[in-house]
Symmetry: C2
Subunit: 425 residues, 2 copies
């Protein structure tokens, strides 16, 4: 450590992509850890990710009250703001080159020497490109990615901060909904289909298996996008479950695909900023199917954004890991690293122990990590005990959240803007 | 009190209609209070409401462990099971007469002298009919209704057990979703529409106003079924809100109606057991409208059963009131009353104080209590401060729920069946 030359300058941290319940804990980790190092002068936050940096919209985090930073440990949504803006070298290389010139203008004029970017696949790709560009320009800056995604689809890290909380909340919700449906179940039978997020990855859907304490418990079917939707096998399972228990709880990942590889109910005309199709309504599609083919009364639940923002029931383990990822980013940069992402390394499942490490961004950007084949049951209708062993420790513990008037009192930053030094772009 | 002749015999309590987060607290209240009176010999639960009684499916609640009964205070769903079976004198008087004969056969053979029925409008109607029938038959039995409905649409009670918890959870969810959407809001703007339950009553939708601490906070629009949907006023408000804040959060009650009185997205071909149309998809209908007319990216959340089962974030006030309603039912019956429903009487809003009383079932059955006109803002797009004053105390406090493996550990009854004495119907 002592060999690494001290790099004096300012730190900039930003958040990107969809928020999570614990994304801000990483920011708290960065701010508290960075405060320990004299060579880090200012600690800035980029407002709305890359977009804010392009607009020179920086926030002075050292001006915030310490209790607001502490409060970030349990506050959902992106406290600095986030964006889905992509520096798009593939489709718009001219704009991308302009964006990069502007980014480095902002870095230079504010003497940013530490840049931390919290996000998922696309954001780690952006961080990687910035790292390469800094090297190309001989601009000394240490760039570290902080993992963040409810989808849990980043490679090389055991799991991603944000994931434990979404499956804790979703598993509790599935358990509660199942108790409700079961308690109303009479001979005519009923079915409830709960749609969860996760795009092409079934990690979130799979996580609801933790609601199952006994074989007969819900969820009875978990449809993972990793497996092609088999209509007949699905209907058979729903039918036999209703015949046995009078009710059936189905969890489905939004990205479920049919045999042709088309997402069930994907509306191909609608794309988000990254060019991914917007997914909606797979639960409703399946409900129509069950009601038509089996005649079983079926209701749906679509948790949507509620699941990734439900900090009132976040996992303390997850929040602590998210905080530690922020801390590790600072320590990695202080040790001289750049072009890395912090990863979580599991050292034991039972008892659960973990540590953090760094991994080359080059091997992470745009790689999608799906559930291993052998963590899914042979019939493809539920994850198996290997998955359960993996997921179980991630939902342990609850955050202690201050309450006011019966509702969570989340932290709010005052957001002190850093003086702009450039003309607007 | 001492004038009332002691009535020796057994007690039967049952649950009906859609469950709530706190419905079981009333059962705990009944069991614990009934245990104090020597003239009450056995304490039975009817399995799946009226349906279970017709089938002579009774449970012996005195056999349950005391900690299971205590656990009912925070356990969601109907622990005894519930049903939507209706004794239908209007459309099927012959079957209804048969059902009544059977009910009283069961009451007599099990010497039921105290009958408590926890439910909403339809269930109070059933309780009332049973009371009248008992009088007609000269069968001495004290019948008391226990209010229970998330919809909060029972008349004469200040509010209904179950309501405080659903709006506490929904308000927290709206707050969290709003933070998420706001933190992603950039110039292009976005909208999120959250659909909540409540049928023709807007009480649940209105309750989410408690998430609003400042005027600019979400929810920005609350569409109450009490007011006819005004498409243009709605679109104008969404447009101006997005123009000002870059995002807009809309809450909509599932029973929203158009000018012709037709429910938006009601599927008139589908009716539930009580003949009410099944409602689904108003949020999706509004999303299509906003995207088409305003071009604003819009996502939806449909909490469905999750909202009424979310005991992990129930209101302690609500749970305590629900328990007290069970206690009051027993004490009312011991005081000689029958044909009454327990009601909650507010004695002060600030500080919040309340008590319980009894009200004639004749004035309650099938009356739907909607939000008063003057509790809604002039533009009809949000409840006003009178509503807020009413609702605010109902969400205060949290239950302490035991956790196991990161998930709530709810109580489970062992369900000891009472020996059947009749041939099956």
């Amino acid at each position: 450590m002592s060999e690494v030359p001290e790099l004096e300058g300012n730190l900039l941290v930003a958040q990107s992509g969809g928020p999570t319940s614990v994304i801000n804990a990483s920011i708290a980790g960065v701010v508290f850890e960075a405060g320990k190092f004299g060579c880090i002068e200012e600690i800035y936050g980029g407002r709305n990710g890359i977009l804010g940096i392009l607009n020179e919209d920086l926030l002075d985090l050292n001006e915030e009250k310490a209790n607001a930073i502490t409060g970030l440990k349990f506050t959902p949504a992106a406290a600095l703001g986030t964006c889905r803006y992509k520096i798009d070298f593939t489709n718009n290389p001219e704009q991308a080159a302009k964006d990069f010139d502007r980014l480095f203008e902002v870095f230079e004029v504010h003497n940013i020497r530490y840049f931390f970017y919290a996000g998922g696949n696309d954001s780690q790709d952006t961080a990687h490109k910035i790292h390469l560009e800094a090297e190309k320009r001989n601009y000394e800056m240490r760039v570290i990615g902080i993992p963040k995604t409810i989808d849990n689809d980043l490679p090389h890290t055991d799991h991603c901060p944000g994931y434990g909380s979404v499956i804790k909340y979703n598993a509790a919700t599935v358990m509660e909904v199942a108790m409700d449906v079961k308690s109303m179940a009479t001979d005519s039978g009923s079915c409830c289909i709960i749609e969860v997020m996760g795009r092409a990855a079934g990690w979130i859907a799979a996580g609801t298996v933790l609601a199952k304490k006994k074989t007969e418990d819900a969820p009875h079917v978990i449809l993972l996008p990793e497996r092609t939707f088999d209509e007949q096998a699905f209907l058979n399972r729903v039918k036999s479950t209703v015949a046995t228990f009078n009710y059936c709880i189905v969890v489905v990942g939004e990205g479920l695909k049919d045999a042709s590889g088309k997402e069930i109910s994907a509306d191909s005309e609608k794309l988000d900023a990254f060019g991914h199709p917007i997914l909606a309504g797979v639960a409703d599609t399946l409900r129509d199917l069950v009601e038509e083919k089996l005649g079983t009364k079926t209701r749906t639940v679509k948790l949507g954004y509620a699941q990734r923002a439900a900090a009132h029931f976040a996992s303390r383990t997850d929040a602590e890991e998210s905080f530690a990822c922020g801390t590790a980013a600072v320590n990695g940069a202080m040790a001289g690293h750049s072009g890395k992402m912090v990863k979580i390394v599991r050292t034991s499942s039972n008892p659960y122990t973990w540590t953090t490490d760094l991994h080359d961004l080059a091997e992470i950007a745009n790689v999608e990590n799906l559930i291993p084949e052998d963590w899914i049951s042979d019939d493809g209708l539920t994850p198996n005990e290997k998955f359960e062993e993996y997921a179980r420790p991630l939902i342990e513990g609850e955050n202690k959240i201050p309450m006011e008037g019966g509702l969570p009192k989340y932290a709010e930053l005052q957001r002190f803007p850093v003086d702009k030094k450039l003309s607007s772009r």
